[in-house]
Amino acid sequence: MKNITTPAKKMSLLGILIWIGIAILGASAVGAIALHRGESINSVWFIVAAVCVYAIGYRFYSAFIAAKVLMLDASRATPAERLNDGRDFVPTNKWVVFGHHFAAIAGPGPLIGPTLAAQFGYLPGTLWILIGAVLGGCVQDFVTLFFSTRRNGRSLGQMARDELGPIGGVAALVGVMMIMIILIAVLGLVVVNAMKHSPWATSTVAATIPIAVLIGLYMRNIRPGRVLEGTLIGVALLLLAVAGGGWLDQQPELRQWFDYDGPTLALMIIAYGFAAAVVPVWLLLAPRDYLSTFMKIGTMLLLAIAIIILRPDVKMPAFTQFIDGTGPIFGGALFPFVFITIACGAISGFHSLISSGTTPKLLANEADARFIGYGAMMVESFVAIMAMVAATVLDPGVYFAINSPAGIVGKEAADAVATINSWGFPVTVAQMQQLATEMGETTLFARTGGAPSFAVGMASIFSDAFGRGMLSMWYHFAIMFEALFILTTLDAGTRVGRFMLQDLLGNIYKPLGRTSWYPSVFLTSGIVVSAWGYFLYMGTLDPLGGINSLWPLFGIANQMLAAIALCVATTIIIKSGKLRYAWVTAVPLTWLIIITSTAAWEKLFSPELRIGFLSHAQDLAAKLAAGTLPPDKAATAPQLIFNDYIAATLTAFFLVTTWILVLDTLRVAYRIITGKPHLPLSEAPHEPSRAVENWVRD
């Protein structure tokens, strides 16, 4: 069996020199950002460091995995070729698959995580994004894509069942459901915080709904299937909606129609989520997805260009004092919480669902798995680096003023500024007021969730690069752009949750499994929406901002799913007789187990009130019993206590599931190594690719 991916000849001298050059440049850039301790550092170092690290990782590490560990075989027919049905299985051009795969994996996660993690300073997050992606996330996506391709495009859950046994399968299924619920709740909270008391943002985000419906009707009835045409019209309308929101904000009569507080907006999002889950896909979800994908890729390209043109200075220090765990945005020390906070962008378990979903059914050639699996994750990681730049070009004082919840720094602007100044980050009330006016907002204090601060960062980069004076437009463009694809994830996630639940309930009572039977559709959508709606609504009541408790929970859940994917991959590598290369997935797996276990343990049992769910609940209960709480806080306290116990239960569940799975993997690995009976490798038999044969014959 000839291995096509191994380069036939040795690298030329010129090639060696070029790669040595890239290595030196990359090492200097990483060294510069790691060792710099001055006032500010130019963001161009971040870009250079990232590009060099990715280039080396792709050229050497992914080539090593492709040739030695997985042994990609370009002469082997892929499922797309063997099972070609013109629908699900279609051999597709690798650039097209790359586009689809990237659009599917890149969501709001890599924009939010780095923004929050910037409270530790720019360095910990940046290093984790680079190292985590090259050695962890890219590897996970790549190997999962490859193993699924070798198994006729099976899903992660099926592979877990086939290779590990029923425990792995159930863990994967339940894990996916849980992540979906937490993810949607936290993303909903991000949108709510961005729209809170902002008629401009609220009206613009609201306008995206009729625009999507209009485009849906257009692409279905007026010009069926003209996707590009419909999308371009939709994008034009969205830009118009941003400008229209600005006009509306000036009308005292109209603006009060769009001025709401957090809990009210949460209820609206919940109602919207339910409606979106039960209406047909063509009406809302599909056109919204076209628009958000187009916006996402366009805006990311624009941001990359703007950062390269402008080369703004990063003003955040490399480390802040908050690495000790006292940070205002979320509680918890650098280890393990930076690794939990930045999930997407470094390693994201959710990707393994995409890598074992539609993508393996489209691969025309097995050798493309490297470019698509490893490559697309590198691009996502680069998006995370840009988010880190956008967060850290802000004055640290401004960054903390926007992102710190009122429960930490105080409700009044003067209190908040005093607290932030006491940390050593200068900022004034006047400065914040001027910034808010420039951005077309009434206030920017305590706008937690990451979206507003990312939007301020992006708006200042864009307006500096492409002409000043448009700050408020850029700001609301950025908010609209984030809300657009957050709501797409919310719609799509609710629908997936509904399908999975229907699948499950169909085993109990058959008609419930029918995806077109309306009583079942309403029931299951209702269950899924109330599950995430509960966390979302509680998040808006939480004086600490909700993000503080929900985001780590999401990170833990997402990393747990990554651990499941890596458990499956490690088992398969050992089964194929490559024990000596098992470290490729076992090392990131071990790291994930360490960080998720530590983080889950701390979230459960830490005596620190802002970290431990249980200690927070007990403290609140004690205060409530003693009657020391002010009346408004006493009213919400029982709900918050209950919420803490729910969050604690979930955390314990994640912790226990992860460990059951790890022990199960160890059991299977032990049986394989000692030659005891175990489940066989479930790989589809080798069939030569006709495409390659023809090519060879010509």
Binding site: I105, A106, P108, G225, V227, A343, F350, L353, T489
Partner: protein, 64 residues
């Protein structure tokens, strides 16, 4: 000039394929090579588009 035109054509085609704009044309091509002898007609543009959207959204499609 000709080379430039070729590149532009190629990129346009790639954009159409990535976005799914030419899905119906590709479907017709596939239908004529694989199912044409079955005796029935290929789906209309509108019916095809509807069926595709329902099929595509039947699973995990988008990520965080």
């Amino acid at each position: 000039m000709i080379a430039l035109k070729k590149i532009a054509c190629h990129s346009w085609q790639l954009l159409r394929t990535i976005s799914g704009d030419d899905a119906y044309e590709r479907y017709l091509e596939h239908w004529h090579t694989h199912h044409a002898n079955a005796g029935d007609q290929p789906l209309e543009r509108k019916a095809f588009f509807k069926a595709e959207q329902n099929r595509k959204w039947n699973g995990v499609r988008r990520c965080c």
